[in-house]
């Protein structure tokens, strides 16, 4: 017998936790939206532009939710918004989450992070800070965020955090307003020692406005960008190989949503993930177990008869996911040909598909499959 602590790598601990959580359906990871409003007014945002002043989680509500999460077995929590640093009680909410024994990650635009916040985070470190970046100049930032001199402040915040040993991740929405700057933004992240990622899917606003989708890149632009950042698309190859080796399944959800992860919105509503705005219950009104059970029911959904995704061998590497499909069509089991085209084009360039053209282009989409609502369909770029 030994009571002495074993030395185990963090990645191994995480692997064991995720594996156990998947088997027992333990809600291990979550995101919690503590405020929906933001100090930026980004054109592509699907949350803040329609948010109201009262879309703020109080400290009392946050504590109640953190206690429920901790009791249910949640370990990793992403605090997200809106812009979390604009929350008047962010410091108290952050410390409450820490004291509940949660591993905290933060989503932010970093505009408000000066020395004081950087020192606070250095003393009470998060596991990581994920910063949205939009360009390499104040002018480009202002065009997207409508806030002057934001670039200088954000870059300073990145430096302040990195100087204090805080793990920083720079992420960019890949869209028509940023596409030309992505390679330089990646180089900036590498030069500073931050990790880098981008997301090529732009969602309609959660309250229905499809305007952000007008900024979506066409499939060929997306894959050209992939190649510019990753010549030969080598980082996509292992996932593609695994995906084609697996037998297609008719289950809509193949990710961890509802299995070991979930999202809590600013009013306590629970959805599959931060990209899904359809809630199945509310942690401020119901018990966690009841809501978690209901979420489990949602992710058991199956595709309707003849749905093109049900037999697609590229589904686990699809550019879209049930949440982004849900935001475009209203249903997680809908179908967005734009995502399908991006995925097939990637498969073609990697040698896994003969033409890069999805079957639905030549054969059509079955009539019983729900496609993007008219406003979103109109906003999507002309397909290449």
């Amino acid at each position: 017998m030994t009571c002495v602590l074993p030395t185990v790598r963090y990645s191994e601990v995480q692997g064991r936790l995720v594996s156990a959580a998947m088997k027992a359906r333990i809600p291990l990871t979550s995101s919690v939206e503590i405020i929906a409003t933001c100090n930026f007014s980004c054109q592509h945002c699907y949350i803040a532009p329609g948010a109201d002043r009262e879309d703020v989680m109080s400290l009392t509500q946050a504590k109640h939710i953190f206690a429920q999460l901790a009791a249910a077995g949640t370990l990793d929590v992403l605090l997200t918004g809106g812009e979390v640093f604009t929350h008047r009680e962010f410091r108290e909410i952050y410390l409450a989450a820490k004291r509940a024994g949660l591993n905290i990650y933060i989503n932010t635009n970093a505009y408000l992070i000066g020395e004081r916040w950087a020192n606070f985070l250095a003393e009470w470190p998060p596991n990581g800070v994920s910063i949205s970046v939009y360009g390499l100049s104040n002018e480009r930032y202002e065009q997207i965020t409508r806030i002057p001199r934001a670039y200088d402040r954000v870059v300073r915040a990145v430096d302040l955090l990195l100087e204090r040993g805080i793990k920083v991740d720079l992420k960019v929405p890949a869209m028509s307003l940023t596409v030309d700057y992505l390679p330089q933004l990646k180089a900036l992240a590498e030069a500073k020692g931050a990790s880098f990622r981008y997301d090529s899917i732009i969602q309609p606003h959660e309250k229905g406005d499809a305007a952000p989708v007008q900024l979506q890149l066409a499939p060929r632009q997306v894959v050209d960008l992939d190649e510019a950042l990753d010549p030969g698309l080598e980082s996509l190859r292992p996932g593609m190989e695994r995906s084609v080796a697996r037998a297609p399944r008719d289950k809509v959800y193949g990710c961890g949503a509802g299995l070991f992860s979930f999202h809590v919105n600013v009013h306590g509503g629970v959805s599959t993930c931060v990209s899904s705005r359809q809630t199945v219950g509310n942690l401020l009104e119901e018990s966690f177990d009841v809501v978690w059970e209901r979420l489990g029911g949602k992710v058991e959904k199956r595709f309707p008869e003849g749905h093109p995704c049900a037999t697609c061998k590229f589904r686990s590497v699809c550019a879209g996911c049930p949440a982004t499909v849900e935001s475009a069509t209203g249903l997680p089991e809908g179908y967005v040909q734009q995502y399908c085209k991006i995925t097939h084009l990637r498969a073609y360039r990697l040698g896994f598909h003969p033409t890069g053209i999805p079957r639905t282009v030549t054969e059509g989409i079955p009539a019983n499959v729900v496609t993007p609502r008219a406003s979103v369909a109109r906003a999507l770029p002309i397909l290449s």
């Binding site: 030994t2 009571c3 602590l5 156990a20 370990l75 949660l102 591993n103 003393e123």
Partner: protein, 95 residues
């Protein structure tokens, strides 16, 4: 005089997905999280109130059916390690 040990307020204990974890609150720890063996997790729970090596060893021996000698040696090693991490301190002592 019997030395009593107690938990510090620098960590939060979690039992998640079958793993016993100590989550660090502040920067001045050597890692953000530590993993305990099940027996170490048991001892951590016993430390809910200040306890001596002897008391902890007695609980351990009773729970896991080991000799007092083995339990005492294990508890001493465990306390030394947790003290070095800053998770346990001598009750009433400086931290």
């Amino acid at each position: 005089m019997t030395v009593l040990y107690e938990r510090t307020d620098g960590f939060v204990y979690r039992h998640v997905a079958g793993e016993h974890l100590l989550v660090a609150l502040r920067r001045d720890r050597t890692a953000p999280m530590f993993m305990l063996t099940p027996t170490a997790g048991f001892l951590w729970e016993q430390l809910a109130r200040p306890s001596s090596v002897e008391t902890l060893a007695e609980s351990l021996a009773a729970e896991y059916e080991v000799s007092r000698e083995v339990a005492t040696a294990d508890v001493a090693a465990w306390l030394e390690q947790l003290q070095s991490l800053g998770a346990v301190a001598i009750h009433g002592g400086s931290r």
